[in-house]
Amino acid sequence: MSALADEAPLAAPLVNATRFRTAHESDWARLDALLTRIEKRSVRALSDEDLLALPLLYRTALSSLSVARETSLDRALTAYLEQLCTRAYFQLYGVPTSLSRQLVHFFAIGWPMAVRALWKETLFCVLLLAVGTATGFMLVAHDPAWYYSLIPDGMSGGRDPSASVATLRDTIYGESKRDSMLGAFATFLFTHNSQVAIFAFALGFAFAVPSLLLLVYQGLTLGAMLALFFSKGLGPGFVGWLTIHGTTELFAIAIAGAAGIRIGTAVALPGRETRIDAAVRAGRATGVAMAGVVCMLLIAGLLEGIGRQTVQVDAWRYGIGLAMLFAWLTYYYLPRGQGGRDALAVAR
């Protein structure tokens, strides 16, 4: 250092940045080229040799950055090294595992674990649904006028206390006009229900109150419908009509509500953690469960759109519905081996 400072004053001053650039520029350029290739195409565009060189070049660039920050005043140099290291960091550390492995992990471990972790909230939501249903049932059973205030006109589709038994029977067993487009109907149901579920989940952020209200309301309408059909002597048929897809759909809605409640309570009652840390933990844990809910609703949509319209026998409808419920319960809550222990990091 001092040798340089002592040189004749007329010689061009040589600064650290210049020396540093000449010494390392080729390494940076190579890393830059490799990163550009990965970003434009994919990691597969690199040869084995380049792939092995990547981490070394990354560490070289990182150490260059540290040195440049401490010894050089060339801002262009530090800015360049910062973006180079950042891009390299994302390529080396930030890239998720391959989509297929993520999917396998999701179905085998991530989804059931995430739902199981929500069991308390799920149970609470199921109870809430049941309370709502019972309330709706009793209200309408006492005074059919309640039916009109609980169920909006658009939703009833002619199913109200003034309808004849034959009309109501038709809505359960009849060849509906949608029969010609079963697949489309199923898809419509799936997309619509999924939007509602995502919505119920997102609303949980407001201290879970909207999620709870949505669940109770869902129960109320269900109870009102039940009361209507039971009063006309069509109870068992209606329950069958509902069970075939309802076990899956209501379960999914309960899980979505549970996920919302988890977030809402984490925000409202963070416990020992900071509010944000608690929210992040709850948010990540429930994200997986929500992906599962969308899958469940896809199945529910298929059962409702296609299964219910083609299966007209009560016994079969009950059978399919209960079998689905049993399958979900086994999938979520049956104890598993310790093989997927690391997955708990996601579920917790």
Binding site: M1, A5, L10, A12, P13, L14, V15, N16, A17, T18, R21, E25, W28, L35, R59, L62, T71, S72, L73, D74, R75, A76, L77, A79, Y80, E82, C85, T86, R87, Y89, F90, Y93, G94, V95, P96, Q102, F106, M181, L182, G183, A184, T187, F188, F190, T191, Q195, I198, F199, F201, A202, L203, F205, V280, G283, R284, G287, V288, A291, V294, V346
Partner: protein
């Protein structure tokens, strides 16, 4: 001391959107957060692309339907397609290796986990599910009400207030977090590729240099040096003339007619001097900080 801040304090705008982000190797990358404007721009871009695709798909389905293709299959594909577009566009793109939707990529943004770990699918799902209540809920609600002609003043006001709280949420916290970012533990950073600028000192070394007095080099600190670097790199004639005139006036140097050459030489000399000071533990942040001159 200068009113109203102590002079040693770094300029606010330099620190504003830089966030510490330490790699496992222990180096702080000092990531720059995406600005609210860039993020809003990215969202609008994405939304425009989504709407264009949706319209194109709808037109295609209609023409195919008129041509007499299987209407049910078409309807299924159309419904699923729209759902995937709306619910999956952001999620699927952000789960990919680039961590950004096309709109974000165009504006040089990227989603990352705040804790430095890899971005998980769960975080991306949560982040984007929240968009439902942030943007789509008030918009679709408003649209529905307007379509029915039932949008009275109170409802409109409520919808605007609701979306206002969530839309402007990023402006009210230090890290520009959306509600979704907050819950998912993510943030959006600038991730732009740029080239290494030419070495200013190295290029100055090729020519015979001017010699500056100690007093002339004692005028400025690191902040001014780096501002001068920007002036030289941008090379706007009027800026160079102004800066050169100012430095000459302060240092009492006669005008020799070569502004750019003068500034390059001054930059090189000042840079060498400040660096030398830095190596000896005397870092001079800007022209206001006093360093004992021997």
């Amino acid at each position: 001391m200068r009113w109203p801040w102590p002079a040693s304090r770094p300029p606010r705008n330099l620190q504003g959107f830089r966030r510490s982000f330490v790699t496992p190797e222990g180096v702080d990358l000092r990531l720059e957060l995406g600005s609210a404007a860039a993020r809003a721009g990215a969202f609008i871009l994405d939304w425009v692309i989504i709407v264009l695709i949706a319209v194109a798909a709808t037109l295609a389905v209609i023409t195919l339907g008129i041509a007499g293709a299987g209407s049910e299959i078409l309807a299924v594909i159309w419904l699923i397609g729209l759902f995937v577009l709306r619910a999956g566009w952001f999620t699927l793109f952000e789960m990919g290796t680039r961590g950004a939707t096309p709109g974000k990529r165009l504006l040089g943004l990227r989603v990352i986990a705040r804790d430095g770990a890899r971005l998980t699918g769960a975080a991306v799902i949560t982040r984007n599910a929240m968009r439902e209540i942030e943007v789509f809920l008030p918009l679709s609600f408003l649209g529905q009400q307007t379509a029915q002609g039932a949008a009275d003043g109170f409802l409109v006001l409520f919808a605007l207030l609701w979306s206002g709280i969530f839309l402007l949420f990023p402006l009210f916290n230090r890290d520009r977090l959306r509600v979704g970012d907050l819950l998912a533990g993510t943030w959006v950073v600038h991730n732009v590729r740029h080239k290494l600028g030419a070495d200013l000192v190295g290029s100055a070394a090729a020519r015979p240099t001017r010699v500056f007095s100690e007093a002339a080099l004692d005028l400025y600190g690191i902040y001014e040096l780096q501002t001068l670097e920007d002036v030289l790199r941008n090379a706007r004639p009027e800026a160079i003339t102004t800066v050169a005139a100012t430095i000459r006036r302060k240092a009492g140097i006669a005008d020799d007619g070569d502004d750019y050459g003068f500034l390059s030489d001054y930059y090189a000399a000042l840079c060498a001097r400040l660096e030398r000071g830095m190596m000896l533990g005397r870092r001079r942040a800007d022209k206001h900080s006093r360093v004992a001159v021997r």
